[in-house]
Amino acid sequence: MYLPMTHLRQLEAESIHIFREVAAEFENPVMLYSIGKDSSVMLRLALKAFYPAKPPFPLMHIDTTWKFKEMITFRDQMAAEYGFDLLVHTNQEGVSQGINPFEHGSALYTDIMKTEGLKQGLDKYKFDAAFGGARRDEEKSRAKERIFSFRSEQHRWDPKNQRPELWNLYNTRIRQGESIRVFPISNWTELDIWQYIHLEQIPIVPLYYAKERPVVERDGMLILLDDDRMELKQGEQVQMKSVRFRTLGCYPLTGAVESTAATLPEIIQEMLLTKTSERQGRLIDHDQAGSMEKKKQEGYF
């Protein structure tokens, strides 16, 4: 009698279900907003879940102070346009110690500015549930992550002590001080995300589109010269290249790819014809084998 639902509508319905379940069962949820394409999809799903009401939770951005400038502009635009409460948290201790990705290495920097910053932000507002935009297809250790990922009082993730998830019945009970990270787009792949952005015409940060930008080649990656805090090493030269970003994070750790894809279909076309996977552009995964798993245990998303 009816047509079967398309894969995107099934994924969408599942995500909406998860958003509502958290809103109903937790006292103080928050949505972590990382400004990237996955966050843009999350934002759209949250709006859909509660329409015509506003989503009953704020957005929180953990600002490492090293994000691309265009990301910050986009973030403020989105919050204003949709009337979200936006909380921005920065690890001030890290800032006063002068922790930066150039001198301290990606591992230490990520630990202090991202992982610690995140824990501080969650503790500060006593959030008991935090939505994140992680997907299971991103990395091997995430394939076994639950949608409702249980965290101890120290925000730790214990891969051996997770709750089984059956049907769409999520166990949302936690004790005082414990919390849950919730990943509503767990079952989406990178291709699903792009197709959905296309289908729904969802706004994304312009850095995803190719444009002539000033870049420096360093450690085999093209790094955008986003501000004057980046000092050139000997022999390095600033070049103007048509580049875009496949993932967004801190500019000194995020490699650009050379591209001419300036529209959404062209981006998808390029992605489908390309030969390297998405996280390749991120420095933190290459540090050591199983590095994502270690970071997760310590409280990184």
Binding site: Q10, K140, K144
Partner: protein, 629 residues
């Protein structure tokens, strides 16, 4: 990745348009380590071009370093997610894999074939509509094939692919394939599958996985991928009666009251009658609201918001249903339970049950029998251990609206949650509602508990003394009762030993019996409180869960937990009944404090250490707390 690369290259817009119509299928793969399950999934990912070059490079390196294919590509390594497992070469959990072809997106639940198989398989199967059961062509139908099939059937999967793998190792012979297929079909008759499709494959060589095999011209059926791309599973929930558990009530302003939820089964249109199962209130659907535009109809799987024509009271936990085909409302039912935790299921203990969007207290009132997953035979049992399956009767704190699981997976399923640790300890599938619940109506007496208490001019309550044997509970209890009598109070003393001589003389000291012991005492104490009495209960009551259960029977102001926390050495030194001596010498098994645990109260109303506090003083402390309260 390069599916449909020509179209992607030449006309990306046409490609995107065609992708928007794509469907989705969730399936589970079952088989043991040696059946080539990981190789099959790796092959599906590989053949559908879901492996990137950097992943391939990592795979080649890993294959040389820790692979089991003597240096050749080991597809299994693509799938092992966690470092611990990679090193030990085991998979300990359910992992989800994603791949997609031009026709469908697939989500594969990949579960291990050995350790924790029951828990993990049931978890993975709960969201799947198709199961791929792998058989090694050399070995045929094994015990574990039967076990996997039983679990798949238990969880309500109706479509099964019997992937008879490693055909290359039996010279691709048709006779071997048919023999295995026939043997399996004979066995599977007892299970509730609607379809079993046998496909001869070689995951390693790629025969009949994506493309038809040249080596098996005698096989004319679909390849595995052809089957997965075309099998129709969507009807199953859409054609059933309408059900929607209410998740969230949306009230952005006084003019809008929307009921949000995911349609569990059936379909709905504006103007349709719906009933709130349980309360029996009916109304008509006014609008189906989604962002963008209202819908003409909604169907199973969609997350929607409904508005009603009448102002009716609906809240989270209610089940909106088709009035022509209503669910069962009951507070007792029979269910299959799969136990998922190291701590065993104890009948009589109170757990939380989550079904749809409602969570409430439940007790397993009896374990009728266990099911041995290897023999499929019934076995007697008093508890369920991790990975065991039992058929149980359950009693809920109040009625809920449910359907039998075989009729509706969404409204007939539940999880069980431990009330103290909040761990997910069990998964359940409802067989049927028990009629006894609906036929016994609560008798409303003309004289209320309040009236009875008023006549006695007292505030009835339970004073619950817990602690080790020999800690001084009974001594305090007896002195307390005497003191209360002098004050003109009406009391009743319930003492461990005395109760065990009468009401509970059929119970021993195992975990199961201890739980039942306290459950009965709790119910008796509650009746006495309703009668207007001050009940003094002195029981070791070693488990927190049961003390919490008794607390749950009563109001906050009528339950006082007194922890008599005299140290173990002191209790043992006193040893008035000589029990510690016996326990130490091994003559008395399951003795609290020696060979059986005591779980301390977290927030007792009082702590009394009788090695420091005298009986009179203890009595004063308790009367101050409970009577002058």
């Amino acid at each position: 990745m390069a599916h449909q690369s020509d179209m992607i290259r030449s006309d990306i817009y046409a490609y995107l348009k065609s992708q928007e119509e794509k469907g989705m299928l969730r399936f589970i793969t079952c088989g043991s380590v040696d059946d080539g399950k990981s190789t099959l999934i790796g092959r599906l990912l590989w053949d559908s071009k879901m492996i990137f070059e950097d992943q391939l490079a990592a795979l080649e390196a890993d294959s040389k370093r820790i692979g089991t294919q003597s240096g050749a590509i080991d597809y299994a390594l693509l799938l092992d997610g966690l470092q611990a497992e990679r090193e030990q070469g085991i998979t300990i959990d359910v992992a989800y894999r994603y791949f997609s072809t031009d026709k469908r997106k697939f989500i594969v639940a990949d579960t291990p074939g050995h350790e924790q198989y029951t828990r993990n398989m049931v978890t993975g199967a709960s969201t799947a509509s198709v199961a791929v059961i792998l058989i090694d062509a050399r070995k045929g139908v094994l015990t574990q094939t039967r076990r996997h099939s039983f679990l798949v059937s238990l969880v309500g999967i109706r479509h099964v692919v019997l992937a008879i793998n490693k055909m290359d190792l039996v010279e691709y012979t048709a006779s071997r394939f048919h023999a295995i297929r026939e043997e399996y079909e004979a066995f599977a008759k007892e299970l509730s599958f609607s379809e079993v499709v046998a496909i001869p494959i070689s995951a390693l060589q790629g025969d009949n996985v994506l493309l038809h095999s040249d080596s098996m011209p005698w096989y004319h059926g679909p390849t595995l991928m052809e089957y997965l791309e075309t099998i129709d599973v969507c009807d199953e929930s859409v054609s059933k009666p309408f059900r929607m558990p209410i998740q969230w009530v949306s009230r952005p302003n006084l003019d809008f009251r929307g009921f949000c939820g995911t349609i569990a089964s059936g379909s709905i249109r504006p103007g349709d009658q719906v009933v709130v199962a349980g309360s029996g209130i009916t109304s008509k659907v006014a609008r189906i609201v989604t962002m963008g535009s209202d819908l003409e109809h909604g169907q199973a799987g969609q997350s929607i918001t409904l508005t009603m024509e009448d102002e009716i009271d609906i809240s989270r936990g209610d089940l909106l249903s088709d009035p022509q085909s209503r669910p069962n409302c009951a507070d007792q039912f029979e269910a299959h339970i799969v136990w998922m935790h190291e701590e065993p299921l104890l009948p009589g203990r109170s757990y939380l049950l989550k079904n749809g969007t409602s969570t409430l207290q439940v007790q397993v009132s009896s374990l009728k029998h266990k099911i041995n997953v290897n023999t499929l035979q019934r076995e007697p049992g008093k508890t369920l251990a991790l990975n065991e399956i039992g058929v149980c009767n359950l009693a809920l704190a109040k009625p809920i609206a449910v359907d039998p699981y075989r009729e509706n997976r969404a409204t007939g399923s539940f999880i069980l949650i431990d009330r103290l640790t909040y761990a997910t300890v069990g998964a359940g599938m409802i067989d049927f509602a028990l009629r006894r619940a609906t036929n016994i109506h609560w008798h409303q007496s003309q004289v209320s508990p309040k009236v009875r208490a008023g006549l006695k001019d007292q505030h009835p309550c339970v004073i619950w003394l817990t602690g080790l044997s020999g800690s001084g509970k009974s001594t305090i209890a007896s002195a307390l009762e005497q003191r209360l009598c002098e004050m003109g109070k009406h009391t009743m003393l319930l003492d461990g030993d005395n109760i065990r001589h009468g009401l509970n003389k059929d119970l021993g000291f195992t975990d199961v019996d201890r739980v039942e012991n306290i459950r009965r005492i709790g119910e008796v104490a509650k009746l006495m409180v309703d009668a207007g009495l001050i009940v003094i209960a002195a029981f070791i009551s070693p488990y927190r869960a049961e003390r919490e259960m008794v607390r749950g029977l009563l109001s906050d102001e009528s339950f006082f937990e007194i922890y008599v926390n005299t140290p173990l050495q002191e209790c043992e030194r006193r040893d008035a009944k000589g029990l510690y001596k016996k326990a130490r010498s091994g003559q008395l098994p399951n003795f609290t404090g020696i060979s059986s645990p005591y779980e301390e109260p977290t927030v007792p109303a009082l702590r009394i250490d009788t090695s420091k506090t005298g009986v009179d003083q203890a009595v004063c402390l308790i009367t101050d707390l409970c009577i002058k309260h």
